[in-house]
């Protein structure tokens, strides 16, 4: 059997450093194991899709990538996660790691600040004080998140009172304001209408030129539309990782993957 690592070598020149490398990762909450034996690499500027039914461990996986496990005393993991070749276990400043990784949650979280402050928060946390600089960041991020036209006249109203779809785009703008190297989206379209979803998907295709994207989705077709490679997670294991095109043309290694994609279960 061809391992994931082997396939990576053939597809990418050896000198390209993976953005993210996960080795023998397993995650548990207390004594309950939710994910085990994960090995994968995410290359720069690719959209890496993760599909799988509920309770597959997808969200827990994302939480370990930006080391949010440190905020949850119940959560622990084994194995290693390297970001830009650096083992995140050995990083002293996890805050700096998180600031390079943008995260978008399933349900939009508009912070109870003005729209402007929502987007300006992260740059401010990083020490940007200049009003001009912040103005530029806010406008650029809102534009890229396809929200600028709808809110440019009311930047000082509360972000948490926008509609669901708008809040989700605000969340994306906020993630972009971090100027992230890696953007992780966790089922971002759950609370968003189809038209907005398509607009966000177009945005993601653009963003791919500048950053790496991990897209967890429960919509198989969304992975097909966006992802370069797709991993199938099921009940705490990574069943397989394939080029998305192979996955959807029936070239799966595992019967279960095909079953899930064709909607026979899950």
């Amino acid at each position: 059997m061809v391992t994931t690592a082997d396939r990576m070598v053939t597809e990418h020149p050896a000198e390209v450093l993976p953005k993210l490398e996960v080795t023998d990762l397993s995650i548990s909450y207390g004594n309950t194991n939710v994910l085990s034996g994960i090995n994968l690499k995410v290359m720069p500027n690719e959209i890496f899709g993760i599909i799988g039914p509920a309770n597959a461990g997808k969200t827990s996986f994302l939480k370990v990538l930006n080391r949010m496990d440190t905020f949850d005393s119940n959560m622990s993991f084994e194995g290693d996660v390297s970001f830009n070749g650096l083992n995140t276990r050995k990083l002293r400043n996890l805050y700096a790691l998180r600031s390079r990784i943008g995260v978008v949650f399933p349900l939009p979280v508009g912070l109870p600040l003005t729209i402007y402050e929502n987007v300006a928060l992260s740059p401010r946390l990083m020490g940007t004080k200049s009003k001009v600089e912040l103005d530029i960041i806010v406008e650029r991020c809102l534009m890229r998140a396809a929200l600028w036209d709808e809110v440019k006249d009311r930047l000082n109203s509360l972000g948490s009172l926008l509609s669901g779809g708008q809040q989700q785009r605000l969340t994306i703008a906020r993630a972009l304001s971090q100027d992230p190297e890696l953007l992780m989206l966790d089922e971002f379209s759950i609370a968003v209408d189809p038209v907005t979803t398509m607009r966000i998907e177009d945005v993601l295709k653009e963003l791919k030129k500048e950053m790496t994207i991990i897209l967890v989705t429960n919509l198989v077709q969304q992975a097909r539309r966006l992802a370069d490679r797709t991993a199938f997670f099921l009940a705490g294991e990574c069943v397989e990782i394939e080029n998305t095109e192979d996955l959807f043309t029936g070239n799966t290694q595992d019967e279960r993957t095909l079953g899930y994609i064709e909607g026979r279960f899950g």
């Binding site: 905020f71 790691l97 998180r98 995260v103 979280v109 109870p112 990083m126 906020r174 971090q178």
Partner: protein, 291 residues
């Protein structure tokens, strides 16, 4: 038979419903009755004595005449100093317990201690205050000792109110901030505290109204029976409204009937005023909900 005509069961349910609603309403009315009677009596018997002079002159003729200014002044002092101690301490403790403390036996023990502190009778606080502040720390009977005793007594109110308003801020907001690379403190300062401050202030105002009326904790620690002059610093004794009411009602012969009622009326008005501010504040903030 028509689909929406009343069955016997419907009618019976309706009757029971009316019965219980009436019952609960009567209970509620019964509850506010004492309040109305107290206020009514106070206004009826003591209203005539209230005047600007009454509020702003000293008591004379062995406290059987004159005003209540030293007591009013002293109560404001006591409450202000108590707040200066209990608010920073209580808010800091609440922030620690709500935002930082791990969920282990130690934290649970502290929480339990706070609940128990709230249940300690005020006379026990008073005796503790005598032992700790008056004697051990050597502050003597003074505003400082009395206020510290009051502060310790009302600390649980501040802690619980602050903790509740911090926990009312959705966890998702914190997680969103942490995911951006914010530290716990940045998250607290930028997102959690600004949205909890209204609840904290409400708790503080409630504490003020409680502190204003307390008698036992200040009786042995700093409040004086009668003082012909105003306190000059926190190390002086002072008169206080609550103790003054006790004194003119029971300890001094020949007090005109209206005087204690007048003192009680002013005291209750102070407390009600603080409570009303608290309620108005809460309503104002509820009006502009942020999520």
């Amino acid at each position: 038979m028509e689909m929406f005509s009343e069955s016997i069961l419907n009618r019976k349910n309706k009757r029971t419903q009316t019965l219980f609603r009436t019952l609960f309403m009567l209970m509620t009315l019964l509850l506010i009755l004492p309040v109305l009677i107290i206020l009514g009596t106070l206004i009826y018997k003591g209203g005539s004595i209230i005047s600007v002079d009454f509020l702003f002159t000293d008591p004379i003729k062995g406290m059987t005449a004159g005003g209540i200014f030293p007591a009013l002044f002293g109560t404001v002092w006591l409450v202000a100093v108590a707040l200066m101690v209990s608010v920073p301490l209580g808010v800091a403790a609440a922030i620690y317990l709500s935002e930082y403390a791990p969920n282990n036996w130690f934290t649970r023990a502290i929480n339990l201690a706070i609940i128990n502190l709230a249940g300690v009778p005020s006379i026990v606080h008073a005796l503790f205050g005598v032992g700790a502040f008056v004697i051990f720390f050597g502050f003597g009977t003074s505003i400082l000792s009395a206020s510290l005793t009051l502060a310790i007594m009302t600390l649980p109110v501040v802690i619980v109110a602050t903790k509740e308003s911090l926990q009312a801020v959705p966890e998702a907001f914190r997680e969103a901030c942490w995911n951006m690379g914010a530290t716990r403190w940045q998250t607290i300062r930028r997102v959690v505290l600004p949205n909890a401050v209204s609840g904290i202030l409400t708790g503080v105002i409630l504490e003020v109204s409680r502190t204003t009326g307390e008698t036992a904790p200040i009786m042995f620690t700093g409040a004086a029976f009668f003082l012909p002059f105003l306190p000059q610093s926190v190390f002086d004794q002072t008169m206080a409204m609550s103790l003054h009411l006790f004194v003119v009602s029971t300890q001094v012969p020949g007090v005109p009937n209206a005087l204690p009622y007048g003192v009680a009326l002013v005291l209750i008005a102070m407390v009600l005023l603080m409570n009303s501010i608290s309620i108005a504040f809460r309503m104002h903030l509820r009006g502009k909900k942020k999520w």
